[in-house]
Symmetry: C2
DNA sequence: CGGTCCGTTGAGAGTGATCAACGTTAGTGG
DNA sequence: CCACTAACGTTGATCACTCTCAACGGACCG
């Protein structure tokens, strides 16, 4: 299975039929230019997406006009699942870069749930993983200073990009503007700037034009309010999948 | 289906076999006294729970010692699902009152996924609903003042308790201490007190010994940073479930 | 070569944290 | 039933982190 589709097998060895399904998605994918709104809060729900390439934000708009970014999605993520429980979309999906998406209609999804148990379980567990990620982000914002949030965010992004081989000796691309980082961490873009500068001055990170380099993992991890969770591998899935 | 088990049918009409499964849970339930830790972060994962009666918090502990309450669970909620994606439990479940829990082992859960498609889909969608709730809470904490967070929290709790008929003319039980409300909303217990007092002074709410009364829904809703989402009913499920 | 978006920096204001003390309720054992 | 104790709620004073407002520099794009 070619990246980023290999992530579908993270929890489950897939059957040839299931692999075929995923290849079917690959065949019919759509491109979106940078800054496109893929689906807006309140839009009708036409299924979910598999993010083949590019970065996508998921955000909520409050009545005050304040935007809260809830997740930065990277290649291999599945998008739009929370809205399945709602009448209309509950989050805005927005392209941070040029993006390649595979669209999975409600109809295809229902067939998948019926006929592809391994893929279903893998998707189910990956959405639980997203819940864990949300819980962590909540704890960052609810109980940490701006520097601590920033450290946690940078380490998390680093680790997730490293899984796709997008990191070279601590350096990884940063496609968010400082304003967007602020919307993600619940601080002002101005304060994001000061916080980043502080981390640079103290030698923990360096910033390139559209990249970040982590200079001291040790000190950044010491600053971070929590440690990354250990995800269950296939053995746990096997227990859940029966047999 | 007797409350709170009726919530399992929120998304799916259940087959007689599926109803039997749920009744089986009911037969083998456990009691926990107030303040018991049901499962601690890092504990081995022995399945999930159905909350039959009582209130339970789900929380994360940060290295600083700060606790972030991530969710207040009410009767009918399913607990412990996020940890299925992890090697060890990712959240601490703690009884806020005397609690009745039905335990569902990994083995039972795998059988359920295989043989009870309606129940499986209902559970899947309810976990997506939890994601929506987490996203909303994140936006409250990330982008609102303490008074706004408090308004959103009180309205949300009111609405969820109203679904179980636990609300009488705006009055509902409040089983959290002010310290716990603080851990939920990301503010100090001292500031929780001041915020509640302010809301009382301005006539929006009144506080009883272990209860809250909402006096002006209109003004509290105007203060709240967002509006409650509209959850999809059975029609949407039918589309997803196939047939 | 303009314009817009993004990043950067300064000064001042405000919300909420911290520290400290006291009142009140509830639970416990005599 | 009362005394005692601990947990919870309440209030004041001070401090710090972060927001707001404002201005300017630089980079990318048309």
């Amino acid at each position: 299975m070619q990246p980023p589709f290999h992530r579908l097998e993270e929890y489950a060895r897939l059957s040839p039929f299931e692999l075929g399904l995923a290849e079917g998605w690959d065949g019919s994918c759509q491109f979106f230019p940078k800054r496109t709104v893929i689906r807006r809060e309140g839009d009708p729900i036409d299924g979910v997406f598999f993010l083949k390439d590019g970065w996508v934000t998921s955000s909520l708009l409050m009545r005050s006009g304040q935007k809260q970014i809830v997740k930065v999605h990277l290649p291999g993520d599945m998008l739009g699942f929370p809205s399945l429980a709602l009448e209309t979309a509950g989050e805005t999906l927005e392209a941070l870069s040029e993006v390649t998406l595979c669209h999975i209609s409600n109809h295809d999804l229902s067939q998948l749930f019926e006929a592809a148990p391994g893929l279903s379980l893998g998707i189910f567990l990956s959405t639980q993983k997203e819940r864990i990620a949300l819980m962590r982000q909540l704890s960052w914002i609810g109980g940490s200073s701006s520097a601590e949030r920033m450290a946690a965010f940078l380490l998390d992004l680093h680790d997730r990009l490293a899984l796709s081989g997008k990191v070279a000796s601590g350096t990884f691309p940063m496609l968010l503007t400082q304003e967007q980082v602020g919307e993600l961490l619940g601080i002002t873009s101005i304060h994001v700037n000061r916080t980043i500068k502080d981390l640079c001055r103290s030698g923990m990170i360096e910033q390139g034009s559209r990249s970040i380099t982590i200079k001291s993992f040790e000190r950044l991890r010491a600053l971070s309010p929590d440690e990354p969770p250990t995800y269950a591998g296939e053995p746990r899935w096997r227990r859940l999948g029966g047999k």
